[in-house]
Symmetry: C2
Subunit: 428 residues, 2 copies
């Protein structure tokens, strides 16, 4: 019985698990710190109240229940010993014959991790809920205050980073403030909301063709988003961001700038790039350890066009599948195949009828791009139930210009004060 | 312009606001600590993963947007000065001509508030999410452990209190463990889950007729729920509950036993009962202060059958309406009417095809009661959109025996540790 241990139930991990599920003479252990698979590309919609957490997440146990050879554990990997073929977790050690690492990335502040308190990133549901809470609390506080300076600061949102996530967040806030919220407040005009994208590079959406990024810029401007490119954030505090000598006062700063691979504390014998991603061979294995594979955002695969593949769902899915198939080839005594990336292009959405799509030389924007984005995302949403529910919510929002339940859920569930300070545990 | 201040956006407050909305020469300020109205009767379904928070909550601003004379503030009342007709909030003082108090209740530990850490109650969405987290984490930990004693403790759930909420929670855990979870785990058999209802009174569901409570007891037993009546909990700790000389070891204890009215720290000149509810006149006003009304769970109205009306949604709705109409009568120079409660009966649900309904002398249980419960709850769910979405989710669950997204959402959104201890703010 060959024991395959998969760490991470994201796009790469779940794909590998499914390809190996119910295959003879293999048993699989999948470990994830969460109990669910998350459809990351729509996480910003949870942050912006358009969808609920349950719409884009599915328990891993549900997804894998019918594979009798897969055991799922909710747990955290603490170290990886490649020599002894063993990983240590918070619930004990686990030996493996094959190891598949697919833990993804977390956001990163380039040595300024204390900025996180003032500028949360968007990688988990808890973070999405926190961003939603901050955005909606800002409007509530603006409605309450009578001080025009405080109100202006509350109605100013800064997004650091002009990649797809930053653009999606900024576009959503723009749309919400211009279309949805206007009739809900008595003391403020949500249309006065100022939204900034602060990007260090000379332009936003650097991975797209310049003409598409330019059209996205115009679409954002129509929603009231101001783009500051070539602008490096030098400080973030409770009252705004500093960009060299310039400053924007803002009560709500969101971070969409940098990521770093999970697994920095694993003490693992493998070469990483400066983002902490593990550099892999053509077959996605770790050099010197053919029984260890890395997939998804955690992998640095530079054998396609000589640049590392981007951190996107299609890349992760393809890598997960390729890893599983190479393991199966091993077991059948066949020769492994190198991973061939099938580039299906990329897209980003800005708002209602506003998106950009780039597939090879084909580039388009506007309503056709938005419809493409919509159909592709609905199609890839994992389960049938989710697809229908999300479609209904989007349909509702589209025709009513409304958004979903803009609930502010308190972080604190207790009514009575606790005496001991609450310990915050650090995930790796 | 008569200024009506309503505190609380629950069933009573929202009904009063809607009745007064867009009425001439009235302006209304509604204050709530949350930004949403919560359909409390279905909160246990959020705790049990059958519904998401967004399914049973609706932003107050949405619900009241079309009433141009209503201003909504998210805030917390800190004190009420009846003599000066003024309330103090965390965002300043507010004067009123009429005051409507409808703040509801929170759970209560009879002087043992430190039990809350080990036995959360179910009154808010944050608490429902916390209960869900604890229940699902217990199964995850049971799947991981190899110690049979630890596993038994993890698969034991104790619900303190045998009222409708306690019964609904116990029934849901029973159903989930017997029907839904069995295929998802490899190392544990969720059917071995032990569920206890610990009730101090001689029987559960004391507000129902004895024969109905007896039938509910049988239905619960069929789902594996063990009922300990005449059992007073004497201690709760991290490892279980003590009932005099007896003890149940359990990793998950839930509190559905006592409630206490919000507003104990308000320093208000009004008589309360021992649950902190304000004793009101026949017209729902506070004795000596005809311009101050109390409705919903916060009111102690004993002019119907000489016992205080129960804390139920229909009572709150009717009281909210009566308060608003008496204010309108005042403004028209008419005489106020005493509040007449129209008793529509009560019901409780235990599980799939299992419920009890009592309307006057009419009593029934089983599938007809369950269908009645279902239709009534769907009907009263506030908005059209929610009704359809909830119906879809329930339909899905009914036919698949599945539950909704059993997401465990971490309380902590940060990746990086914070140095300062996080302060927990105490709501009144």
């Amino acid at each position: 019985m060959t024991h395959v241990v998969i760490v991470g139930g994201g796009f790469a991990g779940i794909k590998a698990a499914r390809e190996l599920g119910n295959k003879k003479d293999i048993r699989i252990t999948l470990i994830d710190r969460k109990n669910y698979h998350l459809f990351q590309p729509l996480l910003y919609q949870v942050a912006m109240s358009a969808l609920g957490p349950g719409d884009i997440a599915e328990p891993l146990r549900n997804m894998l229940a019918h594979f009798r050879n897969i055991t799922v554990f909710k747990g955290i990997v603490e170290s990886v010993n490649l020599q002894e073929r063993k990983i240590s977790t918070d619930f004990g050690d686990i030996d493996y014959d094959y190891l598949v690492l697919a833990c993804g990335v977390k956001h990163h502040y380039f040595g300024n991790e204390h900025w996180e308190e003032y500028a949360p990133g968007l990688k988990t549901i808890a973070q999405a809920t926190e961003i939603r809470r901050r955005v909606m609390e800002a409007y509530e506080a603006a409605e309450r205050t009578t001080d025009p300076v405080a109100r202006k600061k509350l109605l100013t949102f800064v997004i650091v980073g002009g990649g797809p996530t930053g653009v999606e967040l900024a576009g959503s806030i723009g749309e919400m403030s211009r279309h949805t919220l206007s009739k809900f407040y008595r003391n403020i005009d949500p249309k006065l909301t100022r939204i900034f994208i602060v990007e260090a590079a000379p332009r936003i959406l650097g991975s797209f063709a310049p003409e598409l990024a330019s059209r996205a810029t115009r679409a954002l401007e129509q929603l009231g988003v101001q783009i500051w490119s070539s602008s490096m954030v030098t400080n973030v505090d409770a009252n705004g961001v500093q960009i060299g000598n310039e400053r924007i006062e803002s009560a709500t700063v969101l971070w969409a700038a940098g990521v770093r691979a999970i697994g920095q504390g694993w003490n693992m014998d493998a070469e990483t790039d400066r983002s902490g991603r593990i550099i892999v061979e053509e077959d996605l294995s770790v050099p010197g350890y053919p029984e260890v594979f890395v997939g998804g955002d955690q992998a640095h695969f530079a054998h396609y066009n000589n640049v590392p593949l981007p951190g996107m769902a299609p890349v992760a899915v393809q890598e997960g599948r390729a890893i599983a198939r190479n393991i199966l080839r091993d077991l059948k005594g066949k020769v492994r195949k190198p991973f061939k990336y099938n580039d299906k292009g990329q897209m980003a959405t800005i708002g209602r009828n506003k998106a950009i799509v780039e597939v090879g030389k084909l580039k388009f924007d506007g309503a056709p791009a938005w419809l493409t984005w919509l159909l592709v995302h609905i199609y890839y949403l994992t389960t049938f139930k989710h697809r229908i529910l999300v479609l209904m919510q989007w349909g509702w929002s589209y025709f009513t210009f409304g958004y979903g339940a803009r609930l502010i859920v308190n972080k604190e569930w207790r009514f009575y004060p606790q005496k001991k300070p609450c310990a915050t545990k650090t995930p790796s």
